[in-house]
Symmetry: D2
């Protein structure tokens, strides 16, 4: 298959959706991005890579980091994590409190905000220097030192992050946050502020396609079984209340972020990252979703 | 791999869960089954088959039929079906009305009761003799004439089916049932009453592993793309509010029924049916779930 | 106080709201009423009466009948009724199923649809000829034989009553309907179809102002304590999710109907009925609410 | 009527419930109270007073203060308050976030936590020295200088008040908190920590029985109409999801607190305060509810 040709076609075809959707602007820093940006980077396990567009420009990875965070947490505490967070799709928007209230403080899964906040709490409890260690971990995953927190984004998130503060307080009231609330929020907003390129994201998620090579910060490997389960989690929970739609149309495990990025993996074959800042009503990149749908349609490469 | 040996091991290992769980007894007919029954039947695309236990005894397939029903409906009306039912996991029990009320009569997906009732309504609108035609379709899928409705089960379901009647009336109040409510319920209870063996179920679901060979009743094929999407749907919605758990632990698209049956498919390779009547708290076969978890663990055959 | 003068003023002042709101048209029979109709009838315990507008024209009393029905049920089975229905405001629209589902089939109170359907079921169980006996009871309360069911309205409600059928089936699934669903719905739709004038309604509710004179069909009196509790129930639950608003602005126990009628009582003093068909967004008579607000403001006669 | 005799009877009769219920212990300070305490203080508009038990011992008034707070807020900003908080019963527990989320940050009423937090925010915006001024207001209402905040209780509430912090953050995310979250919580926990005796509470709520004499801190009177509406609000919303039960059984506007206190008023006649620390499952004083039910039953003095 001529993957370069396919990416070029996708790039052209998604242009018909340019102008649809809306860049996230709940904090000013995110709203300043050029909405026309678009990039794809495809990395195969055998080392081949293909790309189109602005695939080497940095953008805010936002919720995509939740997958890396839960992966790191599992590498440290293993199965015990499932006592504090579930593995079910929530069927609710990413930042809902209602469900959390009814289910007594156990988030449905680690890829919605409440779950990721519990994961952040776990990492704070186990990392010596949480911010420094986490950044080190992401750099190792992406195989580059050139990855930073955007301190301005992190600070701005905190200024406007009342809903996340509400969630964290509610979790704390149920005993499912062990550290100081301010510390958890600070760490969470920092890891969400990480900036990466499509190329770097694609590289960082390659271990999810290649079972068993995800070097954890502790120097141990995530097992093949753990990787599979993280992929399963992305499949059912990676797109908030649009997870079914993504699974249905794209058929690959993946995760989106409000910065317009989406990563997806095709086990045993490749990982791919797309970036286009305009979001659909569910908060997922509109052209990014279309691009990945075209990718699996054109290549037939879906897990189903 | 020695699949026969693996099935034998699974058979032994799941015995430690015998006694846990509870046979469905909301209608007397289902409650009369011997709870100790257990069977697995594995059918590969290349024709090889493996089995253990009571894999050739009939049992009530119940909700498993929802996959066949929605497949048939798609083969008839195509994409139009998604105007009347969604593709998202519900995050709620199988028979919940609350979500349906909030979302104005559009069921979250066709594999929960409300969605399957809409599918039943669609089939009634398009089949000349709905009961006869549907049975004919299932027989063709399973490649045997020896499949029947259990009229007693269907009648008993109706006597106790007030919640399904509530759902259908609520759907009707939103305009999402076009036929007579009694007719829809009658057809729905009939198709759920079908009795099949693990062997027959495994055969009937083989086309979901082998993209593009699912003969529809109209004589046309479901496309490879349609099959993939049905698999995706099973993955995210096949186990009610335990879909994430199944995806996480088993990693195969599948569907369970309250009669204790579960089918699952490994695309390009095999389909498998398990039967064990005792259900866990979420209404899925307790030993069946364990058996399939062991199968993917022992074989490494998960889609992730 | 010159009550006639006050009613005349109210009649004039509410004209500024004419044209706002919308006549109920979920069944054609209700939609045919002249939206400009307006009437008030005020009956004092000492026998004095005052009225303005079309206070002696018949209209569909609809949900107002729920108070009479629960009163009759209490006169028959007493406190046992509270095992099957609660006394709390629902905080939800009148026809919601969600709450009923979460609370396992015990309606929040007898003045929302689900609760009134349970009351209808109780009456069917205890009345020899439910329809005939209930009509007889209402006639005695209103002191006139000239009260009828509107059979056409009852039939039309049934044709369009899928949501009430949904509620009744859901109640039945929880075991809180003892009779045949069709019979319950038929009886319920009949009692809601009763047509009365403001004058007749005012008379029928006078016993609620005059503790202890509500002749029950069994020939016994409702006790003063029972009357007070029914008034309390009207106060907290008489206007669906606008009960607080009515209590807040009008300050009298009352009950509205989708036909545009409202009754209210001022204990020890009077009962009043208003009619104006246009409804606000919560389903209560828009001008009727305003008229009663003006009445308590002008007279200072609120229970608070 | 011999009110002293009636109070003595009530005192005796409620003893049969001693031992039922549970003292609030979510903060250690509240848990230390002697559960056997019981007092009633009844103040008539004509100056007569009656009492039994420990009616002159201080206890934590907790949520009872919400009525005084909203009264003060209305005296300052008038009707504008209803743009930020509603007047409907919530049908949910006092500290629920779910409803608040669905209704976009407008609390159902000012007597549940979320509503009272908005009221606290309003008072902070309008009082020069919020803590000092509010205490001054309560002292004037109760006609004694001998009223204090319990700083230890306020501090302890803050340490354990993650759910209230969650609510305040959620309100802030919807723009319905204008001041600093810490300031709002601090003020809220302070006013809830006020300690009063039954006698003082009874005095402080006498203006609610005597329309038009509630001196506000600004030196103006609450109007008779405002008082009536506050009474209406207590009637429908004063007891969380047990408001209907209280209205039904007691038939007086009232408000309870988690410290075991309840106040109620009989318009034009009296105000009454009861104290008994053991709470029922809904968080209202178990013996306090019984005592007030007996009071209206024995005296016939209910508003209905």
């Amino acid at each position: 298959m001529d993957f370069q040709q396919i990416l070029t076609e996708i790039h052209e075809e998604v242009q018909s959706f340019a102008g649809q959707g809306k860049v996230a602007d709940y904090i000013p820093e995110l709203g300043m991005v050029d909405p026309r940006k678009f990039g794809i980077y495809l990395t195969f396990l055998d080392g081949k890579t293909f790309s189109v567009g602005e695939s080497q420009e940095k953008f805010s990875i936002q919720s995509i980091v939740k997958v890396l965070a839960v992966g790191l947490a599992i590498s440290i505490i293993g199965k015990k994590i499932w006592k504090r967070v579930g593995v079910e799709p929530s069927g609710h928007p990413f930042n809902s409190l209602a469900l959390l209230e009814y289910e007594a403080g156990i988030p449905r899964n680690p890829l919605i905000n409440s779950g990721a906040l519990v994961v952040a709490d776990i990492l704070i409890s186990h990392l010596k220097n949480p911010q420094k260690d986490f950044l080190h971990f992401v750099r190792r995953m992406a195989k580059t030192e050139n990855i930073q927190y955007n301190k301005q984004v992190a600070a701005s998130e905190k200024d406007w992050g009342h809903r996340n503060a509400a969630i964290t307080n509610l979790l704390k009231s149920f005993g499912n946050i062990h550290n100081d609330i301010e510390d958890v929020l600070d760490f969470y907003f920092h890891i969400c502020s990480i900036e990466m390129t499509c190329r770097e994201l694609s590289q960082a998620f390659l271990p999810f396609a290649d079972h068993g090579r995800a070097l954890s910060i502790t120097g141990e490997f995530l097992t093949s079984s753990q990787i599979k389960r993280l992929n399963a989690l992305m499949q059912t929970c990676g797109f908030y209340d649009e997870a079914g739609e993504f699974t249905f149309k794209v058929g690959l495990p993946g995760k989106s972020g409000v910065g317009g990025g989406i990563v997806a993996v095709y086990p045993q074959e490749f990982s791919v990252a797309v970036w286009s800042p305009r979001l659909n009503k569910k908060g997922n990149s509109l052209m990014g979703m279309k691009a990945l749908e075209l990718l699996t349609t054109k290549t037939g490469m879906s897990i189903f």
